[in-house]
Amino acid sequence: MTNDFMLLMPLIITGVGAIALMLIAAYDKVTIEQASMASMGVFGLAFLVQLSNTIGTAVVPYDTVFNGMLVISNFTKVAGLIILACGFFTSMSAHSYFKQNNFCTTEFYSLVAFSACGMLLLTMSQELISVFISLEIMSLAIYILVGYDRQNKRAAEAVMKYLMLGAFAGAFLTMGTALVYGGVGSTKFALIGQAVAANGFFTNPALVCGAFFILVAFLFKVAAFPFHAWVIDVYDGAAAPVTGYMATGLKTAVFAVFANFLVVDETMRAGWVNYLFYLSILTMFVGNLIAIGQTSLKRMLAASGIVHTGYLLIALVAVSSEHFSGSVILYYLGAYSVGTLGIFAALSYLGGANEKRQTFDDFKGLARVRPYSAAAIAIFLLSMAGIPPTAGFMGKLYIITSAISAGQVALAVFGIISSILSMWYYLRLIINMYFHEAVEGFEDTADFKFAPACTFILVVCVFAISLYPIAV
C-alpha cells in the first residue's frame, strides 16, 4: 500500500507542484525567477523520489482502485526519470531564457509540470483510454507552451499547426480505441494481449484497423515519416526551452507507451515489424534530407530529431516481447535527451533577445568568444552524431547490436548509412563555431548562471551515461 503510494509519489509531487504553481500565479509577489526555482524544486524532488524507487519489479499500483490501468515497471520508472530530468533542465534553462525574452508568467512552469504529469501517466498507462487522457493532458499543456509568446507570429502559427494536426492525430487515436474496443471488448492492454493470443491478430479486422489507427497516432507524436512534416515548423516556432522539452520528454513518453503497446503480444508486434522496418528507413533518410537543407539551427535539430526517431524505430523493431526490458530504447532516449536538452539549454542563453540568433551563420566564431559554451555544444553534437566516447555512441552501439542480434542486418546497415549522412550537418555547426572568425562579440550572452550551469551538468551527463553499462 505505502509501496504503491511511494511509486506514484513522483506523479503526485509534479501534479501537486503544477497546481500549486498555478495557484501562486495569482499572487503578484512571486517573480518568474522564484517560480522557476520552485519548478526546479518540484522536478528535483520528484526525480529523487523516482530514483529511490528505481530498483524493483513490476507493480500494478492500487490494483483494486484503478483496475489495473497503470503498471509500474523498471521500464516506466526509468522513462519517468528521463522525463523528470527533462522537466528539471527545461525549468533551469528557461530561467535564463526568460531573462532576455519577456513573455513569461508563472503559469509557464505550471504548464511544464502539468505536461510532465501527462508524460508520467503516459508511460505507466496500460489501457487505451488512459493513454488517450494522459496524451491529451500532456499535449494540451504543450500546445499552450508552444504558443506562449502571444506577440510572436511565428509562435502563433506553430501552435495552430501543432494543435490542428495534433487533434487530427488524436482523432485517429480515439477512433482506433473505439475499433479495438469493438474488436476485443476491452481497452486494457492485458486483455487485448489475451484476446490476440487466443484468436490471433489478423483474424480480427476491427482490432487490426484499430491497432493501425493507434499506431498512426503514436507515429505522429514521435514524428515518423510520413507524419513528420509538422515537427520542423513547430520546433522552429516554439521557444528554445519548450522545443527542447518537446523533443525529449514528449518523445520519451510516447516511445514508452508505444513500446508498451507493441509488446502486448508477439504476433501483434510481428505484424507491424514490416511497417516499422520501412518506416524507420524512410524516417531516417527523409530526416537527413530535410536536415541537410536547413539554415536554421532549430529546424536542423528538429530534422535530426526525425532521424533519431528512425533509430528508435530500429530499436522497436528489434525488441523482443518475451523478455522485454526496453533498456536499449531508454538508453538511447536518455542519451539523445541529454544531447538535445544540452543544445537547447545552450541556445536558451546564446540565442539572445527574441532568439535573434537562429541560423548556422549566426554562431560563427562562437568558440573564439565563448570557448566553453562552444565546446559544450560541440560535445552535444558529437554525442548526437554518435562519436565515442559519448553517450550517443553507446546508444547507437546498443541499437545496432540489438538490431543485428534480432537478425535485422539490413536495418543496421541503413542505420549506419544514415549516421554517415547525418555527420555533415552536425559538423557544419562545429565548423561554423570553430573555424570561422567571430562575426560578433556575443556580449549579451555573458551574465547568465542557470542555463550555463545546466549545460555544464549535461556535458558531464553525456560522459557519465556513456560509462553506465546496461544489459541488452
Binding site: 558529437l382 566516447p389 547490436t401 542480434s405 549506419i416 555533415w424 565548423i431 573555424f435
Partner: protein, 509 residues
C-alpha cells in the same frame, strides 16, 4: 605501476591535453607540458621496448570489465606488431614540441590528445575499445586541421572527417556483427580480439562485414581509390598534424588490418587478397606517378606517402611471413622517413612562405645540414640499402613475388617510381640556381638539428642493423599468419573428415 604502463601511455597525454584545454594556460606552458608529457611517453616507450619479450602473444595485458552484458572490456595488450607503432608515436612526437614553437595552447593540447588516442588504438585488445580510440583520434585532427590549417582548410577538413567517419561507421557495423556472431557461436558475448580469432565466419553477411572493416581501413591507410581525401588534408594541415597523420595514423590503418581482419576474416581475406593487393599496387603506381606532376611540395609528399602506404598495405595482403614482417618494419621505417620529410617540408614552408616547388632552388648551398638530413630521409624513403627503407621494401617485394609474380613485379616498380619524383623535387628545390624566395635560406638551428639527429641516426641504424626490430615482429607475425591459416585448415579438415567418414562407410560395406 608497470602493469598499467599501457594505460599510463594512453591516458597521461589525454588527461594532460584535456587539462590544458580546460585551463587558461599560456602557449608557453602548453608547449612545455606537451614536451614533458611526450618525453615521458618516450621514456616509457623505451622501457617497454627493453622489457618486451620476443614472443607472439600479447604482453603487458590489462583487463577491466566495462559492459559485462555485452562482454565489452577495457583490455589492453601489445605484441610485436603493435609495439612498433606505439613506439613510432612515442619516439617521433616529442620532436614536434621542440620544432614548432609558435602554435597556440589548443594545438599542443590536441596533439597530446591525439597521441594518447593513437596509443589507445594500438594497445586496445577489445574491438569496441579499439573503435572508441579510433574515432577519438580523428577529433583532434579535425580541430587541428580546421583551426590551424592552410587557406583552403575547411573543405579539406570536411572531406577527411566525413570520409573517415563513413569508413569507421562501416567498421562499427562489422565489429558488432562479429560480436553477435561470437555470441551466436559460443553462447557468450565478447569483443576480445584474441578470442575473435576462433570465430568461423562465412556467408554473404560475413563478406559484408569484411568489407565494412576493409573500407574503413582502406580509407585510413589510404588505399586506392579511397585516397582522395589525403592530398588535400596533408597539404592543408599544419605540419605537425600532417606528420601525425602520415607517420602514425595511416599506419594504424595497416595495423588494424593485421590485427582485426587477417585473423578473424581469414577466409574472406584469402579470397580477396589478390584484389586488395592490386589495389595496393595500383595505388602505389598511381600516386607515385601523380606525385611527379605536383607543383606543391607538400602535396607531392602527400602523394608520395600514399604511394608508400600502398606498398606497406600490399605487404599485409601477401599473407606470408616475409611480406608481413617487412610490412610492419616498413611501417616504422616509413614513419621515420616520410614523417621526417613532412617535418622538413614544414620547416621549408615556414622559412620560404611558399609551397611551390618552382619558387625554390639552390637551398643546399646555404643550408648544408638541412640538405644532408633531407637527403638521408629522402633516400630512406626511396628505399636505398643501408637506410631503414630498404629492408621493409625488400621483404615486401620478396613476399609479393611469392604471392603472385605479377604483383611482385609491379611492386618492384616502386623502386623506380619513388626515385623519379623525389629526385625531380630534390633537384629543383635544393640544386639549380638560387631563386628569390629561397635566397639566404637559413640552415637548421642547433635545436632543430639536434632534434632531427636521433631520427636520422635511427634511419641509418635501422638500415644497418634491423635484426633487433625484426626479431620482435616476427613471432607476432607468425602467430597472426597461423591464426589465418588455422581457419583454412579447419575448413579443410572438415572436408577431409567428411571424406574419411565417407570412405569408412564404403569400406564397411
Amino acid at each position: 605501476m608497470f602493469e598499467h604502463v599501457l594505460s599510463v601511455m594512453i591516458f597521461l597525454p589525454i588527461v594532460a591535453g584535456l587539462v590544458l584545454l580546460l585551463t587558461p594556460a599560456g602557449k608557453g606552458i602548453a608547449r612545455l607540458t606537451g614536451g614533458v608529457i611526450s618525453f615521458a611517453g618516450l621514456v616509457l616507450g623505451i622501457d617497454i621496448f627493453f622489457k618486451f619479450k620476443n614472443q607472439g602473444p600479447l604482453q603487458f595485458v590489462e583487463n577491466i570489465p566495462m559492459i559485462p552484458s555485452l562482454g565489452i572490456n577495457y583490455s589492453l595488450g601489445i605484441d610485436g606488431i603493435s609495439l612498433f607503432i606505439l613506439l613510432a608515436g612515442a619516439v617521433l612526437l616529442p620532436m614536434v614540441y621542440l620544432l614548432f614553437t609558435t602554435k597556440s595552447k589548443g594545438y599542443y593540447a590536441n596533439l597530446l590528445i591525439v597521441q594518447g588516442a593513437m596509443a589507445g588504438a594500438v594497445c586496445a585488445a577489445d574491438m569496441i575499445l579499439f573503435y572508441v580510440f579510433w574515432e577519438v583520434m580523428l577529433l583532434p585532427v579535425f580541430f587541428m586541421l580546421g583551426l590551424w590549417g592552410g587557406e583552403s582548410r575547411i573543405p579539406a577538413t570536411i572531406k577527411i572527417t566525413i570520409y573517415t567517419i563513413a569508413g569507421s561507421l562501416l567498421m562499427l557495423l562489422g565489429i558488432i556483427y562479429t560480436g553477435v556472431s561470437y555470441h551466436a557461436q559460443f553462447g557468450e558475448w565478447s569483443f576480445n580480439i584474441v578470442q575473435m580469432t576462433q570465430l568461423q565466419m562465412a556467408g554473404p553477411v560475413a563478406v559484408l562485414a569484411f568489407f565494412g572493416f576493409m573500407i574503413a581501413f582502406a580509407i585510413k591507410i589510404p588505399l586506392f581509390p579511397f585516397h582522395t581525401w589525403l592530398p588535400d588534408a596533408y597539404t592543408e594541415a599544419p605540419t605537425a598534424t600532417t606528420f601525425v597523420l602520415s607517420a602514425i595514423m595511416a599506419k594504424i590503418g595497416v595495423y588494424a588490418v593485421i590485427r582485426l581482419v587477417v585473423p578473424i576474416f581469414d577466409g574472406e581475406f584469402a579470397r580477396y587478397a589478390l584484389l586488395l593487393a592490386y589495389s595496393g599496387v595500383i595505388g602505389m603506381m598511381y600516386c607515385g606517378i601523380t606525385a611527379i606532376a605536383q607543383k606543391d611540395f607538400k602535396r607531392m609528399f602527400a602523394f608520395s606517402s600514399a604511394s608508400h602506404m600502398g606498398v606497406i598495405a600490399l605487404g599485409v595482403f601477401c599473407m606470408n611471413l616475409q611480406a608481413l614482417t617487412g610490412s610492419v618494419f616498413q611501417i616504422v621505417a616509413h614513419a621515420t622517413s616520410t614523417g621526417v620529410l613532412f617535418l622538413f617540408a614544414g620547416i621549408l614552408e615556414d622559412r620560404v612562405k611558399t609551397r611551390k616547388i618552382a619558387d625554390l632552388g639552390g637551398i643546399a648551398y646555404t643550408a648544408p645540414v638541412f640538405a644532408l638530413f633531407f637527403a638521408i630521409a629522402m633516400l630512406a624513403s626511396v628505399g636505398l640499402p643501408g637506410t631503414s627503407g630498404f629492408i621493409g621494401e625488400f621483404l615486401i617485394i620478396l613476399g609479393a613475388i611469392k604471392f603472385n609474380v605479377l604483383i611482385g613485379v609491379l611492386a618492384g616498380t616502386t623502386l623506380i617510381i619513388g626515385v623519379c619524383y623525389m629526385l625531380w623535387m630534390f633537384q629543383r628545390v635544393f640544386f639549380e640556381k638560387t631563386k628569390p624566395a629561397s635566397e639566404g635560406f637559413k640552415d637548421l638551428t642547433l635545436t632543430e638539428g639536434l632534434t632531427f639527429l636521433p631520427v636520422i641516426l635511427l634511419i641509418i641504424f635501422m638500415g644497418l642493423y634491423p635484426q633487433p626490430f625484426l626479431e620482435k615482429i616476427e613471432p607476432a607475425a607468425q602467430l597472426h599468419l597461423a591464426a589465418a591459416d588455422a581457419g583454412k585448415t579447419i575448413a579443410l579438415a572438415d572436408n577431409t573428415h567428411a571424406l574419411v567418414q565417407g570412405s569408412t562407410v564404403e569400406t564397411q560395406k
